[in-house]
């Protein structure tokens, strides 16, 4: 079968790559290289479990499996669930609008020698649902003038600027990035502001190259996603990791999103996005689908729900919202602002009777999206055992505790394993089925320790 697509287009078919000769092709090559890294990692996962690799994930530019094809949009809410689980809603709204030092994201002991100071000088937004925002307030009144939301991945800007991103070297043009910042953030942006004075290789930041944590993308504005987990490559990897059919240590087929994310340790279990992306992909894999991501691969805002919004003048609210980059259903930049002629501020607008006080209230109305594609080949791989386990604090079990813990590591003090024994009963007799479908073989291979073959850009958070 021919490949599903001829090439990977830029997210939302944005036109900026057209300003740099050869960049469109480079982007497609880079995407393929990122798929390739993931496919190798998944093969290794099977080998680690002493199972013949049968990866149900593919690069759609390299291959096109035969079978009915179903696009599957996966949607989630833009407001960080991690904050809601940690704080009350009011506190979570405040925290979401704040910047946090990068060192609070990455434990100090994991930071390479000599880079602590650099980490401390950089800040990130704790908005880890692949949608981030910046609130522009009137300095005199503190009223909200504008809130800008983005879902553009940092990889896009690494590519435009030029330099290494996830092992692919782009030949970009920094001037194009500067123009975009000047157009969308501030005319005061200078090229030197965008260049990193530090080396933070874990984040693909190299002295003299693009710095996604620059002040115009953090404290003074926003151009693209910069919260460490919010990357396109993380999504590609998550899709691959989630395509692996899993069983629990006692042989039950793992079917629930919580159990899967705990067993495979992909992404953050306390998010809206990662468990539902993983759960959706895995459900399709269990059906016997080969899975990939739809071109143009991107993280998008799907829409903003304005039901319940009211302007103080009783007028319409649709003109408060503007798609600045992207298109309906594939929104990369959305700005919420009151046209000056209407004479009030965004803080005077209410949602369900409550005035807008924080950007997060608007984020609660935004749906974020990633679209996968399932090709129903009816061939499923052998379920493999868990590599990790979810943990909770039994004395205050409001959330999972960061990422799942690798099986070879002990549980952190005071924590217990979550979801023990849960999953689809493997011991139950085979049921009569309401309709025929592909069945999943229930043979098992011994679980062996896992080695992570690829660096993942999804780390413990806040």
């Amino acid at each position: 079968m021919p490949p599903l697509y001829e090439r990977f287009d830029p997210p939302a078919y944005l036109a900026d790559f057209g300003r740099v000769p050869g960049l469109l092709n480079q982007w497609s090559e880079a995407m393929s290289s990122w798929f390739e890294m993931t496919l190798k990692a998944e093969e290794q996962t099977y080998r680690d479990h002493k199972v013949q690799p049968a990866v149900q994930y593919f690069d759609p530019v390299k291959s096109g499996p035969k079978g009915p094809t179903l696009p599957q949009a996966i949607t989630w809410n833009a407001f960080p669930k991690e904050l809601l689980r940690t704080y009350s809603r009011d506190q979570a709204l405040q925290e979401a609008d704040r910047l946090h030092p990068l060192l609070s994201y990455r434990p100090k002991w994991e930071v390479p020698d000599g880079t602590v100071i650099s980490y401390n000088r950089l800040q990130y937004r704790p908005q880890n649902e692949y949608c981030e925002w910046h609130v522009f307030r009137d300095p005199l009144t503190s009223k909200i003038k504008k809130v800008a939301f983005v879902s553009e991945p940092p990889e896009y800007y690494f590519a435009l600027f030029g330099g290494v991103c996830e092992k692919y070297t782009f030949k970009g043009d920094p001037k194009v990035v500067l123009d975009l910042y000047r157009e969308h953030v501030s005319p005061d942006v200078e090229l030197k502001d965008l260049i990193s004075p530090y080396d933070l290789p874990d984040f693909d930041i190299h002295k003299g190259f693009y710095n996604p944590y620059n002040k115009w993308n953090t404290s003074r504005g926003i151009m693209h996603l910069c919260s460490p987990p919010n990357t396109l490559t993380a999504e590609i990897r998550l899709g691959g990791d989630a395509s692996v059919v899993r069983k629990s240590a006692d042989g039950r087929l793992l079917v629930e999103p919580d159990a899967l994310i705990s067993a495979a340790a992909y992404g953050g279990p306390d998010r809206n996005s990662d468990p539902t992306i993983g759960g959706t992909v895995n459900a399709l894999a269990r059906l016997g689908a080969m899975i990939t991501l739809q071109n143009p691969v991107g993280l998008y805002m799907d829409h903003i729900d304005l039901a319940g919004w009211a302007a103080p003048d009783g007028g319409p609210v649709t003109d408060l919202v503007r798609i600045v980059r992207g298109q309906p259903g594939m929104i990369e930049r959305l700005e919420v602002e009151v046209p000056p002629e209407r004479g009030f501020s965004l803080s005077d607008v209410t949602i369900a009777g409550v005035p807008i006080r924080y950007g997060g209230q608007i984020a609660e109305c935004i749906t974020v999206k990633l679209t996968g594609v399932a090709v129903l080949t009816k061939e499923t791989s052998v379920p493999i055992g868990p590599d990790a386990r979810g943990i909770i604090d039994p004395a205050d079990a409001r959330s999972f505790l960061n990422r799942a813990v690798d099986l070879k590591n002990p549980l952190p003090l005071g924590t217990v394993e979550a979801l023990v024994g849960q999953g689809e009963g493997a011991q139950a007799p085979t049921p009569p089925a309401a309709k025929t479908k592909a069945t999943i073989p229930n043979t098992a291979a011994a679980t062996v320790p896992v080695t992570k073959s690829l660096r993942r850009r999804i780390w413990p958070s806040v």
């Binding site: 959706t280 089925a433 309401a434 679980t447």
Partner: protein, 543 residues
Amino acid sequence: MAERVSPPFEPIEPVLELDDIQGAVVPGFLKQYQTLAGINCGDSFDQAKDLRRFVGIVSKLVTPSREALNDRRAFKALKLAGKRGEKPPVAFFGIGFSYTGLLKLTPSARSIPSEAFRLGLKERSSLLGDPVDSAEKGNPANWIVGGKSGDLDALVLIAGDTPECVAEGTSKIQAAIKKTNLTQSYIEVGSVRSDLPGHEHFGFDDGISQPGIRGRATSGSADFITDRHVDPKQTPEYWLFGYPGQTLIWPGEFVFGYPSSSPDPLRPGPTASITPDWTRNGSFLVFRRLRQDVSLFWQTMRQEAKRLSALDGFKTITEVELASKLVGRWPSGAPVNRTPEKDDTDLGKCSLANNYFRFDSDTLPLPLKKGKDEFLMATADPVGTTCPWAAHIRKVNTRDSGSDMGTQDSTYKRRLLRVGIPFGKPLADPYAKPEDDPEEGNRGLLFLSIQSSIEDQFEFLCSRWANDPTRPKNPGGHDFIIGQNGAPDEYRQRTCTLFGTEYKSEQLQTTAQWVIPTGGGYFLLPSLSALQNVLAASEDEGK
């Protein structure tokens, strides 16, 4: 490294204070007849005293949870013994207060941490997708209760086994209203359908997916408020379900002061702080009066089924099949995931089977304590080819699937205890023209739900899942049964994706409004101790 298998452990469920919680909250009255009485008093200090005196009288009538639970257990025991008709009829009472009503009783109402409760249903109705144009039916300006006349101060629930005992109970409330100089500003009689008990007016069995509340009635280790039907040897399922598929939810999702959900359904999550303290053992009640336009619903189904039947993949579809797919259950209550081709009334009636199915993966048989589930099991349907993602039961309860809000406890935290009842007489011919309807369309549901957060449960389900075409999952659409599209400039159009055979799919769209909000309110149902010690005055006070 050897495989590591930890044994699952039994969750320790709290003993609920059933002598203090209102029976309307736990286990819910769920009687065949129920009357709602709305009460208002003036704003003066003396009139507030009248309301306090009224509370003093009614608090002695309010049915505690233990009495309601014992009644339900007695009913089940007699039913099992084939003596269903031998239980003497009883009437139960419950009372709730809106924010405006509560504020007349205590200034501490201001500290109740719920913006939705303080603002009230009318102010929040646009969030729920209700029309914002006052000329449109469904706009609060046209509601018959809780609209332009203002919020009710109090809502009294009188439920019973017979119309007579409910009427007698209502007389007691009306006598108290008269004695305390209050105004009865609303009264409505609800009853189960005489022709199809348990079915709502569109003709579908209702309330099957009710969650079970975790918790025990006494310190007895197995004295669970929600009966367990799975074989105790089958763990952890025995600890996860009441009836098979009836998810057990930690009580803090419904009653203030108890543990709520955690990421692990077998472990209690945190207990939310209680503000003010007298709200412990209380709960929020949402009342929404929903008129159902039965003939519009069925006429639309007939037209759409006819249109679809001309398309590849939908050749054999009927209006009943179409409507059942949009509900997620056949009229008997049988889930379409377990019987995709046609209704199965035996399955619909079988409480051991009619709620037991997964969406994302194959459903496997469960060993049960007593009885058998011998019906065909559901197969995995993650894309919604059998039961569309826009189906009502799938929109409001994602079961084993994740959602736009993440993992499974996000679903648990949205669940409601539904305790409502239909109103109005059934429409004999569901396709009748309006002029042939003796009731002039006045029938529907007195929707009543119990939850500990109006925002995170009732409002979330309506605004974020039922009304949003992309949430909780895709390929979705609006909830075609109860959904509203209140998005500006979309002219209330609802759409959804339906699959036929061979993965053929088709978009449905309509602007027809067959569920029309006609009133309601947000109320707090205080505990009996709060009624008696904080909110009530003696009958003599203020005379």
